[in-house]
């Protein structure tokens, strides 16, 4: 950790101004709310146009990991991380498998959460609870990792003036305040600002790096001198890993509960379609530039360890500090990183609170008024944020690996959603048994001495194969004969 603040005084004031503007948006979101209801609070009254919907989808999908983790992965894996561009596009392809049918259903039956759809489609409380529990587990993980990241960023950019724990607590307060003020409206509007910051930040930083460090072609000789490894031939293992990552992301990230809530909140079908089209372009304007920056960086700054490699962009920008105006670019990078992290945490928190309120509390308190449910949801947001802050600060690193298996578990809810909207004959039991077998096999590989990547595939992918297989067999042997 550096003792020298990365941001200038002006940069810090810019950051303070940005954070205060988020609170202001929360206040505006509160005044814009039309009624005290879960639909208005958690879906912004289902009235988002293309601009806000696209930007909130974009900002939510590109977490802090996109800016910091992706660059580190690209530094370490070279061009192999091109898979990052492909999988970010694949996520939208995943949406297309279910969103065109789910959206009209959500409008007709006023869905608020993923649990609402599962309950409507299968009418099986146990299945709904299991899917809600898996969703909350995955979202909690998202919150935790991003809260930790924001603690490190705040501490790093202020040269330790704001410590890791203080950074987490301070930012958590800001997020929970604007979220409970205006709900999805505030979150989506702040996401819009955060999305613009992220996109503009990446494009400017890419331009700066290409001008001052050169393009991959201009660095070709340097690559061979310092990073010849990135040109080693692709192996069968690489190809299997590539395929495995695509499957995991395609079925996993496309069913994130916060993404489904954004689909529900579209004003109309045109809005949703246009937002998806724009989302497909974004990996080429965000992930690809980050990949190229990190690869160019690897030629100029070889032999960094894992932690250092995740700071490759900052390292590259810092070396250009003597150039006029570079402090502005660094401030922009920091703001973009913080924006990316915040937009992910606030969306995950909103989704968790809505899942708890609608799918757990409301089911047990069916007479509760919309006003009371909204109040409970807000209260739960504070509780869950406080709980996550404590975990982010105190969770021992020895059990941190548990958190990292979110996607391998979440992927198992995909059949319930993707097949459920298309095939009305699939029974709840086929889905339930498939899910239980899939999760069990995944955990078997992850929690026992068995290899966590059997045959080079992620455990979640192997589990998903068994999930689909069980579902298919149960459906064909039992359901078709009416023995369900």
């Amino acid at each position: 950790m550096t003792n020298q603040a990365l941001l200038s005084e002006t940069g810090i004031w810019f950051l303070v101004g940005y954070l205060l503007s988020l609170i202001l948006i929360g206040v505006i979101g509160k005044f814009a709310s039309k009624e005290e209801s879960l639909e208005d609070f958690y879906l912004g009254g289902k009235g988002f146009g293309v601009g806000v919907l696209f930007l909130t989808m974009y900002a939510t999908q590109y977490s802090g990991n996109s800016l910091i983790g992706f660059a580190g992965s690209a530094y370490r894996n070279g061009w192999f991380f091109l898979v990052g561009v492909t999988f970010m596009i694949a996520i939208v392809a995943g949406y297309l498998l279910y969103a065109p049918k789910l959206y009209p259903l959500s409008q007709k039956h006023r869905f608020i959460t993923v649990g609402d759809y599962i309950n409507f489609r299968y009418k099986h409380p146990t299945l709904t609870y299991i899917i809600v529990a898996i969703s909350i587990f995955a979202l909690s993980n998202y919150m935790l990792t991003n809260l930790k990241a924001i603690g490190y960023v705040m501490s790093y950019v202020t040269g330790g003036a704001i410590g890791f724990s203080e950074g987490i607590i301070f930012m958590a307060f800001i997020m929970v305040i604007y979220e409970t003020l205006g709900g999805m409206r505030s979150v989506a509007w702040t996401d819009a600002i955060q999305g613009i910051l992220l996109l503009v930040g990446v494009i400017i930083i890419f331009s700066v790096v290409m001008i001052h460090y050169g393009t991959p072609a201009q660095n070709a000789t340097l690559f061979l001198e310092t990073q010849a490894d990135i040109f080693t031939p692709i192996t069968l293992q690489n190809q299997i890993t590539w395929a495995s990552i695509l499957i995991l992301i395609f079925f996993g990230i496309s069913v994130y509960p916060q993404a489904i809530q954004r689909i529900y909140s579209a004003k109309n079908e045109f809005t949703l379609r246009r937002s998806f089209s724009l989302m497909i372009i974004m990996p080429l304007l965000t992930t690809l530039p980050l990949l190229i920056i990190a690869i160019v960086g690897s030629a100029h700054f070889p032999d960094l360890d894992k932690t250092q490699s995740e700071q490759i962009i900052l390292l590259m920008l810092n070396k250009l500090n003597n150039i006029e105006g570079m402090s502005i670019v660094i401030t922009l990078f920091v703001a973009a990183a913080i924006a990316a992290i915040m937009s992910t945490v606030d969306s995950a928190m909103l989704a968790i609170a809505s899942l708890f309120t609608q799918d757990i509390y409301h089911k047990r308190n069916t007479q509760a008024s919309q006003r009371k449910l909204t109040y409970i949801g807000k209260l739960f947001s504070w509780f869950i944020m406080a709980f996550m802050v404590v975990l982010a600060i105190y969770l021992p690193s020895t059990i941190w690996w548990l958190i990292q298996m979110k996607l391998e578990i979440l992927v198992h809810i995909a059949p319930a959603i993707m097949l459920g909207v298309h095939y009305k004959n699939i029974s709840s039991k086929s889905i339930l048994y498939g899910l239980l077998v899939g999760v069990s096999i995944t955990l078997l590989f992850l929690l026992t001495p068995l290899p966590s990547k059997p045959f080079g595939f992620h455990a979640g992918v192997i589990g998903l194969l068994f999930n689909f297989l069980t579902l298919y067999l149960h459906h064909n042997i039992f359901s078709k004969k009416g023995i369900v």
Binding site: W79, L82, A93, A243
Partner: protein, 58 residues
């Protein structure tokens, strides 16, 4: 038909050599090119074939 289009994603798996052209390995050009084609086809489906994505399958 679109249900199976994700299988096209596997075409992006790197199969070509790592010969370097302008600082980038050959397989990366091919994988990126196919990824862009895939992206364009998705945009076409969204903009022109949205209603076909809602076809009944029962």
């Amino acid at each position: 038909m679109f249900k199976f289009s994700f299988i096209l994603l596997f075409l992006t798996i790197p199969f070509f050599s790592s010969d370097i052209y302008y600082g980038i390995p050959l397989w990366a050009y091919i994988s990126l090119g196919i990824t862009i084609l895939y992206a364009l086809s998705l945009i076409f489906v969204i903009e022109k074939k949205w209603h076909s994505l809602k076809e009944k399958h029962d």
